[in-house]
Symmetry: C2
Subunit: 207 residues, 2 copies
DNA sequence: AACATAGCTGAACGATCGCTTGGAAACAAG
DNA sequence: CTTGTTTCCAAGCGATCGTTCAGCTATGTT
């Protein structure tokens, strides 16, 4: 009963997400947002409660769409070396893709908001924990398959991978030469190869 | 002639730098700034012209004080492996130091402002270029001293180091477990050791 | 057709933003 | 001391911030 909404929540959250992603939190005004979302202030506040509420929704949307696209492969229970390499390759080339200047919404949020906004610190902590978890899981799987040298420091490598990723996001956002991002990825791959047992332990490439 | 200033430019620029460093650009108001600087709005605008002018001055101050403290050793013409290791060690432990949640002013600036503010993109580009230059220089010196394996990819390593550094800054600002920052530094050291020729090529430790 | 309900609209709220200004205050030069 | 110059101070400028709301519109129900 009552008048039906003229928008769908996912669609307008997507638009808000893209604006926050590009400009950050403080540089994006509610007027910018309502304009981009094609919605009136009333609807924004009826649907999300506040600018911060909308931001949280945008972050959740980012996690459930963009991040899944980036790390979906790594999330698999049986992810292993191939999935790690895919992620490293993907971000190594990400400087070439248009829109790379947006970097990563959660990385941007952490430097802009983490110290002052509780919810941002939480979502960033969740993000880093997530990255380390999926990397650790894949490395552990590789170890269980006897594909890693015995002394491979799995936890340290996972934290290292996550840290390099953050650095790449910063480089992308700062629009530095894409070779820098590529170089970082290459060196991580080299380091990864050093804990891999046999150079031929990798199964045939997938398409 | 005329009334003398009741402030000194360096001192108030330092205070402004610290505030920008903590909170970022947009979250710091001119009222916050004048209060922290102990100065009236008039003096701020007489001295710096605008909020952006003050920010630029704060960035310059950051470069000439904080950054020199961090990378002064690496800047030396004859810097080599020892200086690289010192920097990696320093940032590896930086999670332990108080105030580490501030991260790096220029790294924070790049994610918050680089896409929208020309001057920020410039200062970030300058920063990354500087980092890569000093790392490259030190690596090249080590190569000239025959301390590196012949195939050491110097340019790529330098870009890699700079990228990891950025990632560490993000991690520090997000206040994640300091072990993450430590791990990243450790793995970079491991990678560095792999391009070093003899394990005993390092001269006795300095104090 | 009439009612109840929920969403849309445009205008505007108080607060804060970056920034300006007119007059008092503090120095150097004469 | 007077004059000229520069800075300090308090108040407040117009603009924009995040947010709200009374009145209208469109729907489901009866």
């Amino acid at each position: 009963m009552g008048r039906p909404k003229m928008y769908d929540r996912e669609g307008i959250t997507d638009r808000a997400m893209n604006l926050f992603w590009e400009r950050g939190y403080h540089a994006t005004s509610t007027r910018d947002l309502t304009e981009a979302m094609g919605v009136n202030p009333y609807s924004l506040y009826a649907e999300f409660g506040s600018k911060q509420g909308l931001y949280s929704a945008a972050v959740e949307r980012y996690e459930s769409t963009v991040m899944v696209g980036h790390f979906g492969g790594l999330e698999a229970e049986d992810a292993s070396l191939e999935e790690i390499r895919d992620v490293l390759d993907f971000f190594g080339e990400s400087g070439d893709r248009k829109g790379s200047y947006r970097g990563c919404l959660l990385c941007n949020a952490s430097t802009e908001l983490a110290p002052t906004l509780e919810t941002s610190r939480e979502s960033t902590a969740r993000y880093v924990e997530y990255l380390i978890t999926v990397f650790t899981n894949a490395l552990r799987n590789a170890a269980n398959q006897d594909r890693l040298v015995e002394a491979a420091p799995i936890d340290e490598l996972a934290a290292f991978f996550a840290t390099v990723l953050m650095g790449q996001f910063v480089m992308m956002r700062a629009q530095v030469d894409r070779a820098v991002v590529r170089s970082a990825a290459n060196q991580v791959v080299v380091r990864l190869n050093e804990v891999v047992l046999s150079p031929d332990s990798r199964p045939p490439q997938r398409a």
